[in-house]
């Protein structure tokens, strides 16, 4: 059979290649060491979301799977890693739920509200900007971080892009349906938008010179720059404020207050800064910033 012959040739190449090791294979096991103690003694008022979750001993959290530093799926462990993930683990720990008992569900920009409204997830920690539109449908705890929309360009910034006003007539890449894309569309209509479904494609397009700039929240761009420091650079001039919150179902004020308490505690006892240093901070090489003030609206 011809097929078998091809398969054999393919396998042979594989054997030869196994001989040499890949950089990726030599990468040391990434340890996201879990330093947060899981509460063993929990008591919540019966009927609250906290009581239900603590009783169940498990919860479903929506997060990004493709955002370096915040929520990125590790193919080896099958679990996402990042700052959002660590924050969710902190909250779960207060409910007496161990990290391995959390079910992670991928949420993309388009499905975060529907997932919360339909009860498909218990909460969402997914670079989720708090804004009034979204507050109509769901509620936010936090913020636990404040990002801002920024611009990433090719190393050396050949086109001299310093801010959003310089984007006029330039090919700017972002993700279809995202807040940054809408912001450019409404406030900087001169820019030519190129819209993919994920940011990793934007990075490829910038490498290939198919677009001139990529714009979205600075923390997302930082993750992309980290992967290709010789190819990309961040303009470093954030022009919006994007407070990231934990999305919870509309009207669950007790759960929201509980998350806010947990966040403030983590701000104070250093768990928050520690989570930053192990995830987003490790990628961008930046110190943990001052934690934002929780907004108990």
């Amino acid at each position: 059979m011809r097929i078998t012959r091809y398969a054999a040739a393919f396998a042979a190449i594989g054997v030869v290649l196994t001989g040499c090791s890949s950089e990726a294979g030599n990468q040391a096991e990434q340890q996201t060491g879990n330093t947060v103690a899981v509460e063993t003694e929990t008591s919540f008022e019966p009927g609250t979301t906290m009581a239900e979750l603590a009783e169940a001993g498990t919860m479903t959290v929506g997060t990004k799977f493709d955002q370096p530093g915040f929520g990125l799926l590790n193919p080896n462990t099958k679990a996402p890693e990042g700052f959002d993930v660590e924050i969710a683990k902190l909250i779960a720990a207060q409910l007496g739920i161990a990290p391995e008992d959390i079910t992670w569900t991928e949420t993309v920009s388009a499905n975060r509200e529907p997932f919360l409204m339909n009860g498909q997830v218990d909460m969402v920690a997914a670079t989720y900007t708090i804004n009034d539109d979204r507050k109509q449908k769901i509620d936010f705890a936090g913020p636990y971080y404040e990002a801002g929309q920024d611009i990433m360009v090719a190393a050396g910034n050949p086109l001299g892009i310093e801010g959003p006003d310089d984007l006029a007539g330039k090919r700017v890449c972002s993700v279809e349906g995202s807040t940054p894309a809408e912001n450019i569309r409404t406030n900087y209509p001169e820019a030519q938008l190129t819209l993919f479904d994920v940011y990793s494609k934007c990075a490829d397009a910038l490498t290939n010179g198919q677009v001139d700039a990529v714009t979205t929240d600075n923390v997302i761009l930082t993750g992309l720059v980290a992967g290709n420091p010789d190819g990309f650079e961040l303009v470093g001039n954030p022009f919006t404020k994007e407070p990231y919150g934990i999305g919870v179902p509309k009207g669950d004020d007790a759960f929201r207050a509980f998350i806010n308490d947990t966040l403030e505690e983590a701000f104070d006892n250093g768990d928050w800064a520690d989570a930053w240093d192990r995830t987003a901070g490790a990628i961008s090489g930046t110190e943990a910033p001052e934690p934002p003030a929780v907004d108990r609206y």
Partner: protein, 298 residues
Amino acid sequence: MSTPVLFDLPGPKARARIRLSTVVGAVLILAIVVFVLVRLGGNGQLEAQRWSVLFDPNSGVPQALGEALVATLKVAALGMVLATALGMLLAVGRLSDRWWVRVPVTTVIEFFRAIPLLVVIFTLYFVLPGFGVRLSAYSALTGGLVLYNMAVLAEIFRAGILSVDRGQREAAFGLGLRKSQVMTLVLLPQAVRRMLPVLVAQLVVLLKDSSLGFIIGYFELLRQARSLVEFFTPTFGNQYTFQLYVAAALIYIIVNVAISQVARYIERRTSRNAKAGRVAPVPMPDEGMTAPVPVPRR
């Protein structure tokens, strides 16, 4: 090949000409391949280190791709079984004498043939929960593949049933069989045999379409490849991007060619057993659709 009627057996001059074009053609193809390889090499895409990641268990890549292949096959297998069964039912329904069966069935078939699979999957996963129906990514993807492909397969089966010689049907009725018996005992068995190549081609399409699971975060091959790319990017830049997508493409091709080979084997066996002699093949469907025409009989 049944085509040599299109040209004479070549004489010495023609043979020389063909030899020349053969050489020229081969050189041209070789030149293109060399050109692509040189350009790839120039961009560093051929370094052994970049490719060895695909086979290096320490990188987790072979395991991840293997699991993704299993995930792909799981969706495809269930989808194939359900879509074939439902497609057969719908085909029979569309040929029913009763209008209240025929009309709704036809509507269902035409509806699912008219909208893109991507939209069907999107609806199942993102819109249905609004109405209280929650599906996992696996169920939504399988459901989408089934809904879409059952419509396509229904048309394939209908074409097959119609292509069975009218005399068969008439003879069966003449023997006093009931309508359902004519369908199940006489028409369907012959139709299925005749439909086999088209059926398998459609199943290959179904397998390939499972890659649309990316839209709802189902970790099939292509989504897994993308996820690996995204995982490596913060640490290694895009040095494995090209390789991982090539790997995904090769796995698809190998699996699909294997399915087609199995189909060819079955086809050879069944056509040997067919007493009717040569079985007229039903025209290839395109991806996703079939010819709703009976095979033109000569």
